[in-house]
């Protein structure tokens, strides 16, 4: 296996671990952190593929992903704060009355 191929597969594994965390964990803050892990895996794949392409475009794209991640956290944390204020819980099961 080529070492860049290994890095690409590792990015897939990191993304899968993040997705697994979002699916299986019950704590809302842990789910948010697993989403950050998924974004990190995407960044890793961008940097790895840039080894065979244009490093400037990849770096700019990674920078834009950073901005998206910061904006995501800035919105998600107030929503979590609001939910905790209503329910006094970070457990996902206690938000089941949000189901439509």
């Amino acid at each position: 296996m080529d070492s860049l191929q290994l890095l690409g597969w590792s990015a897939v594994a990191l993304f899968a671990l993040g997705l697994l965390g979002v699916i299986v964990r019950r704590n809302v803050l842990v789910m948010l952190m697993c989403m950050e892990l998924m974004l990190n895996a995407v960044n890793l794949s961008l940097v790895v593929f840039a080894q065979r392409g244009d490093p400037a475009a990849a770096s700019v794209l990674v920078f834009l992903v950073f901005v998206v991640a910061a904006a995501e956290i800035a919105i998600a944390i107030p929503i979590v704060l609001l939910l905790v204020r209503h329910k006094r819980s970070l457990d996902l099961g206690s938000y089941s009355d949000l189901r439509g």
């Binding site: 296996m1 899968a16 671990l17 299986v24 019950r26 490093p55 700019v60 944390i77 970070l90 099961g93």
Partner: protein
């Protein structure tokens, strides 16, 4: 040789941190595992020659986003059911899917690894020149996003406040 060793050591550390994130119970420990993963990924980026990305990874992710996350974990400190039972019923199918992925990855490594050739270094200076000459429109467009996020956060907090009077 040392390049190859460091690259794979950082990569293994990142994967180990990601696995720890799934296993650990308290959100603060999960956050510290995520910080470890991000620092290891910054090492991987540096080994690949993407120095600008490595610097931003440490400054923005570890320095800003994770500090914010740790602050919120310390602020809330809620003790509820998610501490006692960590996982939902999706645990078994999720792990089954992940084992298949790891088997594919392991089979590739088992066949042997070719030697790692370090990429051409891409530092902060060429990044800054390319960023502000060729990609300034993207930068200006995406700078709207944090502003919108701040306004939305303020609106959400206003929503949660009880009406006065």
């Amino acid at each position: 040789m040392i390049d190859q060793f460091l690259l794979y050591a950082f990569l293994a550390s990142a994967l180990a941190g990601a696995v720890l994130m799934l296993v650990l119970r308290h959100p603060m420990r999960v956050a510290l595992a995520l910080v470890g993963t991000m620092l290891s990924l910054a090492g991987v980026y540096a080994m690949l020659g993407a120095h600008a990305v490595a610097v931003f990874q440490v400054l923005i992710y570890v320095g800003a986003v994770m500090v914010f996350m740790v602050y919120v974990i310390m602020l809330l400190d809620v003790r509820d059911d998610s501490l006692a039972s960590r996982f939902t019923w999706m645990l078994a199918p999720g792990i089954a899917g992940f084992v298949i992925l790891v088997a594919i990855l392991g089979a590739g490594i088992w066949k042997g690894l070719e030697p790692f050739v370090p990429g051409k270094a891409y530092g902060v200076k060429p990044f800054a020149i390319a960023f502000l000459n060729d990609y300034w429109v993207h930068f200006e467009l995406v700078s709207v996003l944090p502003v919108a996020a701040v306004v939305a956060a303020l609106a959400v907090l206003q929503l949660g406040r009880r009406p006065r009077g």
